[in-house]
Symmetry: C2
Subunit: 314 residues, 2 copies
């Protein structure tokens, strides 16, 4: 068994790939397009060919590779079985087994992309040095991943780490994509933050720099305005962080990780955001002075390839 492993993160548009030393050192990373036509049947052959080509360029033999990890954007059972993956056009399949066959039988493991991102951040990112982390990704939606004792908690029905759909708001009047009302994602995703700002603007006559931005407003606009002291924007961010803090407290009272790692585009707001989340988190977790830390993700879009590679080191 070799000292090199491959991490593959299959997204709806591109596949990210990386070759790593087992120490965690990234040796090479690259991308290929995700060809979703014909039921996504080209994806794994494209990946296999690209891995072979790159390893060839790097003068690494497949026999020197200890394995490849594969992240896919949808539910994956603990044994690697995928019931279906609408984002890739796949029906029922076992991509780990299939990819292994295409790569001379090297070990391949498969898991959900949000879960491997959490594992990646644990290995070489914001959770480095910890064995138990919960990652919360604030992007277009709100996703997450739970790692206990250096292992992904995949759950039995593809629901583990789906913290974007935790109920946080009783008086929410609109429905979430999931069919429920009052989900964390409705308020704390990039989309949710903008929506929240628009609701505040509509129900409130106050001056705000956000009024001039109009329809193209982004979550970054809202947070930047809050950082600059815009009163209405501050209230929006406080509201968003209140629900995030409460949700983290609920998660702490279930799995109690060493650290929460906040990632995704919204987390670029940095420590400013963490501090406000922390304030509300402490309000809703009063059992112990010792509580999980809250930190920022460090690997950005590479978290997936790191985590995928880390999977095959167990």
């Amino acid at each position: 068994m070799g000292d090199v492993c491959v991490g593959i993160d299959v997204g709806g548009t591109t596949v990210k790939l990386g070759v790593f030393e087992s120490s965690g050192q990234l040796l090479r990373k690259w991308e290929i397009p995700t060809r979703k036509e014909h039921g996504g049947s080209h994806i794994l052959p494209d990946v296999a060919a690209s891995v072979r080509r790159t390893l060839g360029e790097m003068k690494i033999a497949l026999t020197d590779v200890c394995g490849a990890g594969l992240g896919v954007p949808g539910p994956v059972a603990a044994d690697g079985y995928v019931p279906r993956c609408v984002n890739l056009g796949w029906g029922e399949c076992h991509p780990a087994r299939d990819l292994s066959l295409m790569l001379d039988g090297i070990p391949v493991k498969c898991a959900n992309d949000a879960n491997i991102a959490a594992l990646g951040e644990m290995w070489q990112g914001g959770g480095k040095g910890h064995n138990d982390i919960v990652m919360v990704t604030l992007g277009t939606g709100v996703g997450g991943g739970v790692v206990v004792d250096q292992k992904i908690v995949a759950g039995k029905h593809g629901l583990a780490g789906e913290i974007g759909h935790t109920h946080v708001r009783d008086d929410e009047t609109e429905y979430c994509n999931c069919g429920s009302r009052g989900c964390l994602e409705q308020v704390a995703s990039a989309t949710g933050i903008v929506h929240e700002a628009k609701v505040f603007l509509a129900s409130d006559g106050r001056e705000s720099v956000l009024r001039d931005i109009g329809d193209g407003m982004t979550a970054k606009d809202v947070i930047d305005a809050a950082k600059a002291g815009d009163e209405l924007a501050v209230e929006v961010v406080e509201c968003v962080c209140y629900y995030l803090g409460r949700a983290l407290a609920q998660i702490a009272l279930t799995v109690d990780p060493e650290i929460f790692v906040i990632g995704g585009g919204v987390s670029k707001a940095g420590q400013y955001l963490v501090d406000i989340i922390q304030k509300y988190y402490e309000e809703y977790e009063r059992l112990s002075e010792n509580r999980p830390l809250i930190g920022l993700a460090k690997l950005g879009n590479d978290a997936g390839i790191y985590g995928a590679a880390r999977m095959v080191l167990d």
Copy 2:
């Protein structure tokens, strides 16, 4: 290493003990008083003497015992370290190591009592046949335990499974023992159910059989009245189960177990209670048609000794 293991569940008043075959068969169970005086210094020597005496009566040598598990009513770190245990009068200690020394060096493991109860229900109770369960105990308070892949998730700060302090109610005006407001325990514990019934009675002029019961009202009175069709009692039980269902949905969206097992005195209300919890649970977990089951605990007060014994079989 023998085929017999010992389970010990140290409570504030009594210590429950059991001798088990490694198959899960309970061979003998008994109790001794918990002597809390002198900083609880008699507890472990009493336990050791009692284990020796009973094994002697059963003609089992300590060398035929594969180990003993110990549950204590307070936080226990993953390595068995106890920062303090106010319920037993203990300061900082390592009870597993101490008890092992008193029992000729047999392996001893120690964990929190709510967590071992969850493990016991997984092994031989309501979660039998499953590897991943979350137990929710509805007693004087609301406690819980999380088991992933047949192992207790202890958490890093003694918070894992403390689901009684999950925030569920925004408009709660009273404080919980933990210092927060709106905790699940405030509405779904036996005490909480009675409190809820009194609030309903005070704010509502309707007839109810609960009016005649007065100060001695119990959670069982409330649930029995609901089962008999008392309109106000039905509303109380619906309210309690609404918050329980929502809390279970939140937990499912974090760790996604195979089954939730409901235990504690309140769970004697049986399938009636489970059905109402299920109704609200499904409302707040809409991501998948496949979701964790909800079932009833089966081991009652013996769950702790089962789980303690199970710990040493790994």
